[in-house]
Symmetry: C2
Subunit: 433 residues, 2 copies
């Protein structure tokens, strides 16, 4: 009895339609990033364990898949390699490894799997694709804006119609805390609470802030101001502090450099908080109608490349949540790629092989019956299962006259024509679809 073994927990097998769907999405994103002058980079699936040492937070470090030493060292139970956790640590490593051999600035995109030993759950995987785009070595605001433009175009190309970039700035968040007189030691907690405003009610967040030690007046005006669709009050507050003004100017520069995007596509969102120990400048996330959570995010992270072991270079970038997008779009019908032409086999096999070759020369997807049945009905069932558009019948009758019967599987119509004309006939029928 064969064992029936599933793929490992949290991983997936992708069969035909799904591979094609994923490949098409990755190709779409690549093509857009290429147009923006970004170059692809592919790093190995694993890195030396030391590359990760101290680079990831404690929580993240627990999630890396470690690879056991090999040969005589296997018995030690020690690891020396680890599967990549994201594309950012390898990016920092590559910038360190190749240094001045890379273009400056280094604009690269990376599309590929990463592995995290996260608790497996619906929609959460241990092997999943990330699509990252980053510019290392530029402090220009144009670099930040370019990331938004490129992600905007990629999302449009993926068929996502209604989406918007929420933008904010790490500096603006600093300024916000200062302007509302929040004690530095409360800062992180307060921002964590504000971050919940997209999932919970303003009242609940206000209550949480009060619990955290803010006066109810401060909590209430902070929440009211940051959730107001009109950002004027927050802007006035930010204007009272140095970081606030710097943050506002970052945000306004980004808004100005993206005025070419559709109206309302980029929105200053003062309550938006992202990875605080990561980003240093403008930050963004993308929300889309009909998609859960954010489908892209990013920002400027000037200190990170050095922290991850690379040289001290400014950097900004973003990531498209491609798994989330693919999972949501999956509910729409996936089309199966069937055969253009299916050849039944009723003897004369050498002729069949040559005929198939001629048909393929016209770019048609062509399959030959490989089963053991000599019954036409059974072979037609196979052709039907293969979603074949045309079936060729070359039985003793046809062989005697050097002809082929072509059956249109949509209409059931059958046409008999000379063997030599078959490939051209099929080409014409498929060209006009």
């Amino acid at each position: 009895m064969p064992q029936v073994v599933e793929p490992p927990s949290g991983t997936r097998d992708f069969l035909a339609d799904e591979v094609r769907r994923r490949r098409a999405a990755f190709d779409t994103i690549s093509a857009v990033f290429e147009h923006y002058g970004f170059d692809p980079v592919q790093t190995p699936a694993f890195e030396r364990l030391e590359v990760f040492a101290g680079k990831l937070g404690d929580e993240a470090a627990k999630l890396i898949f470690k690879i056991l030493k090999r040969g005589v060292h296997e018995a030690s139970g020690e690891a020396d390699l680890a599967l990549r956790y994201d594309h950012t640590v390898p990016l920092a490593r590559v910038v360190g490894t190749y240094g001045s051999r890379l273009p400056s600035p280094f604009k690269r995109y990376a599309i590929g799997n990463v592995w995290r030993a996260d608790r497996a759950a619906k929609g959460r995987f241990r092997e999943f694709a990330q699509c990252d785009i980053d510019t290392v070595g530029s402090s220009s605001r144009l670099a930040d804006a370019e990331i938004l433009w490129a992600i905007n175009e990629a999302l449009q190309a993926l068929g996502i119609g209604d989406f918007r970039f929420l933008v904010n700035s790490r500096q603006a968040l600093h300024g916000l805390l200062e302007a509302y007189g929040i004690a530095p030691q409360l800062g992180l907690d307060v921002l964590c609470s504000l971050d919940k405003l997209d999932k919970t009610t303003p009242e609940a967040v206000t209550a949480e802030l009060t619990d955290r030690g803010l006066s109810s007046d401060t909590a209430e005006s902070l929440v009211t101001d940051v959730t107001s669709p009109d950002t004027d009050r927050v802007r006035k507050q930010l204007d009272t502090t140095e970081s606030g003004r710097r943050g506002l100017s970052e945000v306004d520069r980004l808004l100005s450099l993206t005025t070419g995007l559709p109206e309302g596509r980029v929105v200053f969102t003062p309550r938006m908080v992202r990875g605080l120990d990561y980003y240093t400048g403008p930050i963004f996330e993308v929300l889309a109608e009909g998609y859960p959570g954010s489908i892209a995010s990013g920002g400027r992270y000037d200190g990170l490349v050095a922290k991850l072991g690379g040289p001290d270079l400014p950097a900004c970038g973003g990531s498209i949540g491609i798994e989330r997008i693919l999972a949501t779009q999956q509910t729409k019908a996936t089309t199966t790629r069937g055969l253009d032409v299916a050849l039944t086999v009723l003897g004369a096999e050498d002729d069949i092989m040559r005929l198939a070759a001629h048909i393929r020369e016209h770019g048609l997807r062509t399959g030959i019956y490989l089963g053991s049945s000599t019954k036409l009905a059974k072979q037609l069932k196979w052709a039907h299962d293969q979603h074949a558009r045309h079936v060729l019948i070359y039985g003793p009758d046809e062989q005697a006259t050097g002809e082929v019967t072509v059956r249109d599987m949509d209409t059931g119509e059958q046409t008999r024509l000379p063997l030599a004309d078959t490939a051209a006939y099929l080409r014409d029928r498929h060209a006009t679809r």
Copy 2:
């Protein structure tokens, strides 16, 4: 100081040109296999360790990369997962996992990395791509022939001009041993010696066979017969035994089903031996002018899927040695993908962002200067480093008149034209290249 860390031993970083070159090769192969009605399958990078248990030979088993258990189990030093060693074990697992939900026969191709902890050496990697094509569930000789046709077309599409398929049969090898009166216990050793005939002289192989216990008459006539370009003598010998006749008939069927291929493309090669505990029927390997070793190989392996833990189904397939092909082709010049249009930045940044967007709408690869210099000369150097075909200059002069200067980097020619006409002008210039 940043650490300079190389990628792990035996693995490679692929930068822009190399990623594109590899991607193009994989796309080429995919397109051909799709035309033959094969469907893509992607399995996870790792499998449960039990999937490999007892499935690989001792030598192979030593080469698998094992993944340490996680969390509280990490301290045990035990592994529960392993990186995939090839695409065949995962294929058997997939056939077992999905059973009747897969089409029958199941024609699939797999292109992707596999990992082997082999001693790193020039041209031998620990992470490398394999391109496999297999048909599971068909005993038809058409299935064997189809694999040859598909690989033939893929190799042609990869630009390999001069190559040939050496074909033989496991049964013919059995028959050969029998016909020449070789004791069964010597069979394996004798075949191992014959397998060296493509690398060493007939004399050396004859001597080795004599050492292994064959009479010098037998050794000499065996080596003479199997190396003769004329296969008549071997055919006559094979005709004297049951396995020999079965093997010959397999080979002749394959030759007959591939007569549509160029003359001399498929050659019966009685001395050709491949993986004896693997293949059960026809076998082949492909040699090409200018390429070292074989660049593709395969055959029928009816017992293997069951042995690897899948259901007991007949199967045949082949694999393209894509790393070897890519490495050999690498010596030819690789073209760098430069920018079609490089935009310098001399103020008016919002206009620049919009202008870049218009140009990209015409499908041109467009980059914006992201450095900190305001000097045109420095920005032109950047454009040159980016292999830009055209550079746009939009300085204070041009801004005052609403014009742009377009510089052709090949000719040095400069043209000044209205901002609004720039995108269309560039489109036309690139369309005519």
